[in-house]
Subunit: 333 residues, 2 copies
């Protein structure tokens, strides 16, 4: 293509051999750090992108910051299914925190030369993004933790609408004192769910005591601790929107310890609809998040980009819907 | 080494070029099936094993036949941890059934040239085993489904002792009519657990009605269906050893539908101790199976073999122990 810079030109400009450029592109460790940095800088300055798709391994990289959540398996299944149908294998890495993978993660990816990268609950730093771009390795994010940069392809779900639906259901049952436990305060999905809760309360003309809103960690222990605080309030809530199914389990445990029965004394709504939600006692009323489909869509997006297609849209939010089961009822008289 | 056949000799004997042999060893698809079969046969006949470990990618292959069980994540975490500490990434494949991976799985493995393979709940066919052996790719199995060949390295847990401990606990509480739901009849772990149950009953001098022993599928739905049958017996059991935590959830659901309270009307013991077991209502009494450690040990074994070590022992069974929580109590008076 006219105007497109060649690797030979970049090598001449950076004062290194073509072999060195190739080593840097492939994540090899036998290049001095300063040389590597200089080469990366020249690659970035010219907006170089490796073109040939034949050079990629038949691999999709899938990066989690933790696996322990019950819902991660559903995302893995979705990614696995779409990858397998495309003849790809999945490399699973647990790395970093919920904001980004650990710094050394990227070198392994460059060495393996995958067809694409799917990150779950992690954003991707600008240097990592540049490194993937120059190697022509597309990536997408499933349900980002914070505000993903607007130019990063991502697949999420309708968190605000989910929070709204959960709270409306409780209002419709007759609840007035409704509390919300959401995830960590620095995660966009936490904020969106609690904003949905606020809007439902406001729309119904119900006042919100700020003591009713608590930030948890999406785990059972966090749900239990926050629910214990809520149930110890002078005028405790009759219903709790628990923000995740695991926090709902912790909430039910706290209720049991306080001698309360779910749902007759306390209604509880979860979020996620993990596979076990319908096997809980009581069966969990929850907001269904299409976790498996989110993994599928992110993988499809990455595979299309690997074949040279531009994504139709950079952000896709899949619909959520409320599943009413046994953990909600009218408030105690 | 003297006496060791070279690839050049095998090539001459099989009447193919060295390049063809190399393609077959690396799982490349551009070799006729008949040629491939002839080369494999010559490699096997001479017990050829590729020596150089430098030729392997920094990958561990992890193969599941299904991911949906809640316990699979724990195995994945164990494998991931040990692999990451050794600088390896994990390729996750969901393939085949609980007896062996799908036939086409092996070609991808040969192309990727991993340092080793960990199979979960799958045995490995003789032709697959030969292919891995000739390429010098070691493998180990986590918790095999059937009778694993005695020469296949595997890591399991003390299933018989677990079944014994679960049943003894129920006997000690005063139960006499104790039923057992185990996994599929063609899985060694199912048989071992139910044999532990039989031995505990026999040792206590308690008769076993054969109608009390049911084979499930290790999933909630199977547990629910089998428990429903047990509770419909003319003289129903007062306690059920449910064979897995998921089946225990199904059993509790069946009890609830029958108007029975757990544990006051029916005691239930699970098996596995999945992360959510302590968050169930009631909290689940269960046999702890060290799933994460089983994944870790199998991976360590494979990594040691990849470095040329012979395994100290081909079969390792990690200990299980009973965790008493809230789903068991004395039988109703």
């Amino acid at each position: 293509m006219s105007g497109r810079i060649t690797l030979a030109e970049i090598a001449a400009e950076a004062g290194v051999s073509l072999a060195t450029i190739s080593k840097v592109l492939n994540g090899r460790s036998d290049v001095a750090a300063t040389t590597r940095a200089r080469v990366e800088e020249h690659l970035n300055r010219h907006g170089y992108t490796r073109r040939s798709t034949q050079q990629h391994a038949e691999l999709i990289e899938l990066v989690f910051h933790e696996l322990e959540s019950s819902w991660s398996m559903q995302v893995v299944e979705g990614v696995e299914d779409v990858a397998a149908a495309a003849g790809m294998s999945v490399v699973l890495t647990v790395s970093g925190n919920r904001h980004s993978p650990a710094p050394d993660w990227i070198e392994g990816v460059l060495r393996r030369r995958p067809a694409g990268v799917v990150l779950v609950f992690s954003d991707i730093s600008a240097p990592h993004r540049e490194k993937l771009r120059t190697r022509g390795i597309p990536f997408a994010i499933v349900d980002p933790a914070g505000d993903p940069s607007p130019d990063v392809p991502s697949v999420g779900s309708a968190n605000w609408a989910g929070g709204l639906a959960a709270t409306r259901h409780l209002i419709d049952l007759g609840h007035r004192r409704i509390a919300a436990i959401t995830g960590p305060e620095d995660m966009m999905c936490s904020l969106a769910r609690v904003d949905g809760y606020r809007s439902a309360m406001n729309a119904a003309g119900l006042p919100i005591d700020e003591a009713w809103i608590r930030y948890g960690d999406f785990h059972p222990g966090g749900g239990e601790a926050r629910a214990r605080e809520l149930l110890a309030l002078p005028d405790p809530p009759t219903a709790i929107f628990a923000g995740s199914d695991l926090q709902a389990l912790g909430t039910i445990s706290a209720a049991r310890d306080a001698g309360l029965s779910v749902p007759s004394d306390l209604s509880v709504v979860g979020y996620d609809d993990i596979a076990l939600a319908r096997w809980m006692s009581p069966q969990l009323t929850t907001v269904h998040q299409p976790l498996r489909r989110m993994g599928e869509e992110a993988t499809r997006l990455v595979l299309r980009m690997a074949q040279g297609a531009e994504p139709d849209t950079l952000r896709m939010d899949l619909a959520t819907h409320l599943v009413v089961r046994g953990s909600t009822s009218a408030p105690p008289a």
